[in-house]
């Protein structure tokens, strides 16, 4: 296959977000880090390492031709599932949920790996089965089984939000892949009692939903959300300035993670918050453009899946910060503090860019005796050497 230029603007936007994340995470975490470790740069130092690892992951994803992954999607997904099981058995507890396993010095969240492994495998399945995806038994059921396994394992951690989002991402990919809507609705109806039962099992989950609904109907909100909203309001149109956030002064819990968007809103104002939102909108459209022009079906569905994952996470995170959704613990891609998510998202972005390199969107410029000439490489036009 012809390898052309990657979609450089997606790369620029992603790198810009990652650089922004350095500033925001430092500002948002310094007080908390000082309180907990007496070192204001505790979280920042770790974050820098993670961002650097993210760069490497992105580069690796970008360099390795995506077609290589196709035969390995199933074994990798199996390994991811085993990791999930291992985590359930051995993992360390963070805030009451078992989500981590320790690899070397850094914790690792297998759910992040599993999420992308699932999307890779679904892309592979859809690409292989083509029109057979419309068949319940041959096409739909295997995909449903994989989604169910991963979602249930994540639910057991317990991590409702990630499970739900993973389920939505899988369903979206199947939806784009052409499965029957009837099948999706049926599967959804089956999942519903499971989710409801899950909510009832632990009172705090219902309480959170109740608080959210109560807040929606009464204009009242929980402490964390209120502090987040105060941050937005305090930022105003242009923000209070870089590193000038006041809400991070131990008012806003998780200010460097789940509520990082509030700090962006405070320090960079409405303008900054909108720019970040527009960056993800840009990624959505460019990602879908890459998918549309992808050289093969595997690349196409992979691009759709990855774009969906990035944009959906960003939207859910922002929606939580502005109080549209109940408070959950989903990070904002590229910006939030957090290793596994950043690593996997960076790698996936690399893969997305790699897919873009095999489209005809930005043809490679060849060198001629006269200098540089650009040659349109559209279908029907002969290749020039």
């Amino acid at each position: 296959m012809q390898r052309n230029h990657i979609d450089i603007w997606v790369l620029v936007v992603v790198l810009a977000l990652m650089v922004l994340s350095l500033g925001v995470v430092y500002s948002a975490s310094a007080e908390w880090a000082y309180k907990r470790f007496e070192n204001p740069s505790h979280y920042f130092n770790l974050h820098v390492i993670k961002v650097l690892i993210g760069f490497i992951a992105l580069y690796v994803g970008l360099r390795v031709p995506y077609t290589i992954y196709k035969p390995f999607t199933k074994p990798v997904l199996l390994i991811a599932c085993i990791f999930l099981v291992v985590t359930l058995v051995l993992g360390g507890e963070v805030k009451g949920a078992v989500r981590w396993i320790r690899l070397g010095g850094l914790g690792f969240q297998p759910s992040e790996l599993a999420k992308y492994a699932l999307l890779f495998h679904l892309a592979s399945l859809i690409a292989t089965k083509k029109d057979l995806v419309r068949d319940w038994k041959v096409g739909f059921l295997p995909m449903l089984v994989w989604i169910s396994i991963v979602v249930v394992l994540i639910l057991l951690q317990p991590n409702l939000s990630t499970a739900v989002v993973t389920m939505i991402l899988g369903s979206l990919l199947m939806f784009i892949g052409g499965v029957r809507i009837v099948h999706l609705v049926l599967a959804g109806l089956t999942a519903l009692p499971v989710i409801v039962g899950y909510l009832i099992l632990e009172p705090y989950r219902l309480e959170r939903i109740r608080l959210y609904l109560y807040g929606v109907s009464n204009g009242k909100t929980n402490y964390q959300l209120m502090q987040g909203i105060l941050a937005f309001g305090n930022g105003g149109v242009f923000g209070v300035g870089i590193g000038e956030s006041r809400q991070r002064d131990l008012f806003l819990p998780e200010s460097y993670n789940d509520f990082v968007y509030s700090i962006i809103g405070e320090e960079y104002g409405f303008v900054g918050a909108m720019l970040v939102l527009l960056a993800f909108a840009f990624i959505l459209f460019r990602g879908y453009r890459i998918a549309k022009h992808a050289k093969d079906d595997f690349g196409r569905y992979l691009a759709y899946g990855i774009t969906n994952a990035i944009v959906l996470y960003a939207l859910v995170n922002a929606s939580v910060a502005v109080g549209l959704f109940p408070t959950t613990g989903l990070p904002m891609p590229f910006i939030s503090y957090g290793g596994s998510a950043l690593l996997m998202t960076s790698f996936a972005t690399g893969v997305l860019l790699n897919i873009s390199a095999y489209t005809d969107l930005r043809p490679r410029v060849s060198k001629t005796a006269d200098g540089y000439n650009m040659h349109e490489q559209q279908e029907g036009v002969g290749k020039v050497y």
Binding site: I176, Q227, L230, G236, L250, G265, Y288, S319, V322
Partner: protein
């Protein structure tokens, strides 16, 4: 249902996903727009509120001094215990037990406070306790409990003058008496400091807002003399208890200036020991309670009669043998009786034995209009204007509202309502040659630096009667004490003029038998009146309830002690005592040599006891003018190097002493003291060691900053 082409179907599906994403993007943007642009101000305000915490820097409340510079009220630091129930949490039982042990209360009291309302973040556990209490706690046991410094008023003389001074509530705001009336002056202006606060409640000073320093309250200097006040308070208490009265009022004025020298009520409270105070106990009966004065009001009738030259002291009236019917329109309206039935009485005698019948007859000569004008001129029916809270006007109806017998009733003190202070002021006008003075109690307001901010002096209201009338009235009132209803008041060494009053109490629309208000009001010494004093008892229950038999002796006891404690009276006393062989008043033997003093004391029937060495007597105890029994001892204190003549005295060295000590030292030698500033005395004029006349003025210059102004600490809750 039509099947789409696979490619077309995918396009449609992707389009629908994009639509959903776009809706979300739009929803988020809308929220951002609302939070960051539309409602931004509201949230900014809310946010600022939680970043900034305002701490009040309380102003130090001003002190209260008496006329001689004695501190009556100052401040002291107490501590209060408070807790955050959330922080104390499950250790509540432990904390409650620790408190129960220290304060000797059941632990349930504290436990309830800590657990009553879990959402509350601040509860008081104990307030205003002595700072040393904190040492009785094991700090380990009361974690989460905050100790807060709180200023509290310190009333140096406990219940003495408490009615007058009033008190502050637990937050140091005046709620009664002068503390209320002068609250804004005493309180000063609280300052504040804005601190930056973070989510964990940690604070640091804010650079954005300036620190506003508190402006401390001003001191006030009263016209009260604490010596007289103590005497009045003590004697009234003794009298109320002895005569089993429900309550009593006594007050003392300087007739020449209107200065209030003492004011006392009983029962009264000790402002230093406040439990549950009955608010009614805090009222100042001398200005808030109206009573029908009875015979003490005859002064108005007599004044009108003399002033309009209707009656001479020797004019004789038929007293109807103690019983007279008042008729109007041919009907019997009332029978007037006299306590001492007589036939013919001169007006002077009628005054002395307080004949109601004669006064009713005289009132007919005066007529309603002239009587009313005289009563009004004495200040009845309107506020005296004293600077105390809650003063009432009393009741004095206009003649056109009078019934046919109102004039007759008023002539001996019924159908009018007066306050004790109004009566005292009316007598003070007589003692001041007929000029009514406005009574006042605060002489000066001084800034914390000692500068006089505001001062109040004598303020004449009007001339009520002419000097000739004053002379006649004084003679009549002296007769009351010498020969009349107030013979018990008579003192050997000082001439007293006064009048008794006994009135039936008007309770719920009718006069109640055997419930009386007994009063005595008078002034002395007659030659040059210095003191007007009123004593009133509410419902004395001893068999003899007359004013002359109950309030009179209390007045006498007060007068006796007042005369004996001050050099000011001793001159007139000495002059007077020469004619009064019966008295055993201590003579002034200061600056005399020992043999002469011994001889002098022996002639008075007193025994000298000598302390120290030397030739001249420097001090004596008791003071001159004190009344002793025959054979009592008088201590004479000698000073070796005394080089002074009689009537001269050496100014003591008081530099470096505290103001209070210096004052006590100087007052001992009858110096008149003028003070500039507060705190330690840094210089004096004349200097110590100089020889000056007795009673000379000594100026004291003190440090500008005050003793009681301790640096305020911010009660941080961290």
């Amino acid at each position: 249902m039509k099947e789409f082409e696979p490619h077309h179907r995918q396009k449609l599906r992707i389009f629908s996903i994009i639509v959903v994403f776009c809706v979300l993007f739009l929803a988020i943007s809308t929220r951002l727009f609302i939070y960051q642009i539309v409602d931004a101000e509201k949230y900014k305000q809310l946010a600022r509120k939680q970043y900034e915490k305002k701490f009040i820097l309380p102003a130090v409340r001003g002190c209260i001094y008496d006329r001689n510079g004695n501190v009556l009220v100052s401040n002291t630091q107490f501590i209060s215990f408070a807790a955050d129930p959330k922080i104390v949490g499950d250790k509540a039982t432990l904390v409650a037990e620790a408190f129960a042990q220290v304060f000797q209360k059941p632990s349930s009291v504290y436990l309830e406070k800590l657990q009553k309302d879990p959402s509350k973040r601040f509860v008081w556990l104990e307030r205003h306790v002595h700072p040393s209490v904190v040492q009785r706690f094991d700090p380990e046991k009361i974690k989460g409990v905050v100790v807060i410094n709180e200023p509290r008023r310190l009333y140096h003389y406990d219940d003495i003058a408490s009615t007058l001074i009033g008190m502050t509530d637990i937050d140091n705001r005046g709620i009664a008496g002068l503390e209320l009336q002068y609250n804004s002056v005493l309180h000063g202006v609280d300052g504040s400091i804005v601190m930056q606060r973070d989510g964990a409640g940690r604070i640091r000073p804010s650079a954005d807002y300036p620190r506003i320093d508190p402006v401390n309250g001003c001191d006030i200097v009263l016209t009260i003399d604490i010596t007289y006040q103590s005497i009045v308070d003590e004697e009234l208490k003794r009298g109320v208890e002895f005569y089993q009265a429900d309550a009593g009022v006594a007050l003392m004025l300087n007739p020449k200036t209107g200065e209030l020298l003492a004011l006392s009520t009983y029962p009264r409270v000790n402002p230093n020991e406040l439990g549950d105070v009955d608010v009614a106990m805090l009222r100042n009966r001398a200005i808030t309670d109206i009573f029908e004065p009875g015979s003490v009001y005859k002064i108005v009738t007599a004044a009108a009669a003399y002033e309009h030259k209707l009656v001479n002291p020797m004019d004789r009236f038929y007293a109807e043998k103690g019983k007279m019917r008042i008729q109007a329109n041919g009907r019997d309206l009332r029978v007037i009786t006299d306590t001492h039935p007589s036939e013919w009485l001169s007006f002077q005698e009628a005054m002395e034995i307080s004949s109601n019948i004669v006064f009713v007859k005289v009132s007919k000569l005066i007529g309603s209009e002239r009587f009313y004008r005289m009563a009004r001129d004495f200040g009845f029916g309107m506020q005296t204007g004293i600077d105390l809270p809650g003063e009432v006007r009393g009741i004095l109806r206009k003649p056109n509202e009078w019934s046919p017998i109102t004039l007759q009733s008023m002539s001996y003190g019924y159908e009018v309502g007066t306050t004790p202070l109004q009566i005292a002021c009316a007598y003070a006008a007589l003692a001041n040659n007929g000029i009514l003075m406005k009574p006042y109690v605060v002489a000066e307001v001084r800034s914390p630096q000692g500068d006089i901010v505001q001062s109040q002096g004598p303020f004449p209201i009007r001339k009520v009667v002419s000097p000739s009338t004053v002379e006649l009235l004084t003679r009549a009132l002296e007769g009351v004490v010498e020969r009349g209803t107030a013979k018990l008041v008579h003192l050997g060494n000082v001439r007293i003029a006064g009048k008794t009053g006994t009135s039936k109490k008007w309770v719920e629309g009718r006069y109640v038998e055997s419930t009386y208000t007994a009063s005595f009001v008078g002034f002395f010494p007659i030659e040059d009146p210095q003191i007007v004093c009123l004593v009133m008892l509410d419902n004395p229950k001893t068999p003899v309830y007359y004013g002359g038999a109950t309030s009179g002796p209390i007045f006498r006891a007060i007068a006796e002690r007042v005369v004996s404690t001050s050099y000011k009276f001793s001159k007139s006393v000495v002059i007077h005592s020469r004619n009064e062989i019966r008295s055993r008043v201590v003579p002034d033997v200061r600056m005399l040599t020992i043999p002469i003093a011994k001889k002098l004391l022996a002639s008075y029937g007193l025994e000298p006891t000598i302390y120290g060495t030397g030739t001249l007597i420097m001090r004596q105890s008791p003071e001159p003018g004190t009344i002793l029994h025959q054979g009592d001892a008088v201590s004479l204190i000698l000073e070796q190097n005394a080089s002074v003549h009689k009537g001269l005295v050496e100014v003591p060295h008081v530099c470096g002493m505290s103001l209070r000590r210096a004052l006590n030292r100087l007052v001992l030698d009858d110096f008149e003291v003028k003070i500039h500033g507060t705190g330690k005395v840094i210089s004096q004029t004349p200097n110590g060691g100089e020889i000056v006349k007795v009673g000379s003025r000594v100026m004291l210059y003190c440090e500008q900053h005050s003793i009681d102004r301790k640096k305020q600490t911010i009660a941080s809750r961290e």
